[in-house]
Amino acid sequence: MGKMSPVPDEVSKPFWDACNEGKLIVQNCAGCKGNDGKDWLQHPPQAACYKCGTTENLTWKEMNGRGKIHGYSTMYDSRIRSLQEDQPFIIAVIELEDAPEIKMFSHLPGTPVDDDVPVGGTVQVEFQDTLGTEQKVAEWRVVS
């Protein structure tokens, strides 16, 4: 897939650097807890905690790299020129096993484009090259 390369900024750089190292990390506010009492995680990363608004407790937490397919749509006419050669393609929404409230996107490499995309199926993260730079991005492959 002709993926555009993300250009990291000050806030996102740790996330993208981790992708280049084969790790999936998510921003964590050590001063907050979610409604379920678990760690407060947020993605995409932000300059301040989404919940308490402070910056001093922001850190990063590594995820286990597993998730499930929350849903999807199939793109036939994308505005993104670099992806147009690959149409139609799947754009799936992945929810992380460690933090279902966190969602990421995937083309589901290896999954055929048809009406049988396994919504609810388990996926495993992998890291793919992109077009413009050496930056890698998280992708997700169906494992069951």
Binding site: G71, Y72, T74, Y76, R79, K103, S106, G132
Partner: protein, 434 residues
Amino acid sequence: MASTEMFPESRYRKTEGLGVWEHRGKVAIVGLGNSPTSRRWDGTLETSLGAWTMLAAQKALDEAGITVDDVDGVIACDKGMGDDWGGDASQGRGYFEAPYDSEDGLSGVSAHWLVKNMGLKNVKMTYHAPGCLSTALVAAAQAVGDGEAHTVLVVRGTGNMPGRYHQTPGNTTGGNGQWTNPWGWQLIPQIAFGFDQYCRTYGKNHDMMAPFILNQRRNGSMFPEGFYYQNRPDDLQITAEDYLASRWICKPMNMNDCDLPIQTAGAFLFTTAERAKDMKKKPVYVLNHVTQRGVVRSSLETMAETEEFSAHIARKCYEGSGLTASEVDVFNPYDGFTLFTQWFLEGFGWHGVGKGEALDFYAGDIRVEGPHPFSSSGGNNGNGRTRWWGHYDTVQQLRGEAGDRQVQIKHETGISGAFTPGHSDWLVLGTSPD
């Protein structure tokens, strides 16, 4: 005149708990105007957004029976929805003599451009509003209510330049795009994903959208200001088979679920309820205005968030107007992607429609002659993309001047808004200020 600022964020009604709007019934819409429509700009200055915005504004003044000298405020949605013209003479797209010597007047129309070129010499208040004309409309309601101006023109030109629309070139992407563009996630996949989630949750399917689409086109065939009525009446005669056979844009969204980008301009005239008594048209009173700016938890808007945003809009509309769902006669939510209209219908509970029931409701009698004339405007699917047809129709319905589209049920109150459940602005209107 000082440069025009954005209408202050603090003056939009975004939250619940604000109570009945302090200016309920004290502001009225007294004029509507729309220019001709075309698929794209033909390159002549006579059909530029600037020229057509002035035309629309003059029509709105004529409806009210007032002149440019009576206007003391202008609020513009100053950017069109299409691409810029570009001003590149080497590409045959250079700028022109003043006042068409920049993007202003070509790909968008600012408040100061309109003031200068229409000779609105008594204007003391101008603002801009981003995104949709709806945002400018709610700003005008608040500004008039607050006494900042007494007679306010609200305008937008929404253009469509020659060439492919809104393409994203390049091999790198920064800013917010770093999280979405590598996968091609933009508004269209978001809407398609949301509809797919809806169908999975409630056991529905895309085929069930056909009655709504056909009814939108039917209503468009009775809307003389609309694009299809004026330019492509045959496209209003599509069958369910035509609808379902149109090509996928982002499955489950097909081409006929998308509104068509067009070139046109619209104007709405607001004034105080007191001044409205002396104007030509029957006033339509503003009972409330609402703004929605939803914040999502992660990378996209989930279905749970969409449903809550929709219900949140409705609660705010009802709270500030004092109306209940059963008291809303005309209902024109945005349909610019038809696949999100069900969220509004269910969120507002219009005609008792609950969660998961919208597509079954579409299969009933939603004709303007019938008992449930949902989206009597025909919306943007039936008239081309402006995002203001719903407001326009609601005013005409409440005046009793919607012609062949006139609903046969009681038409004393109405709600209209655009654009999405997460980001939209709404007017609650009534024939009575009380």
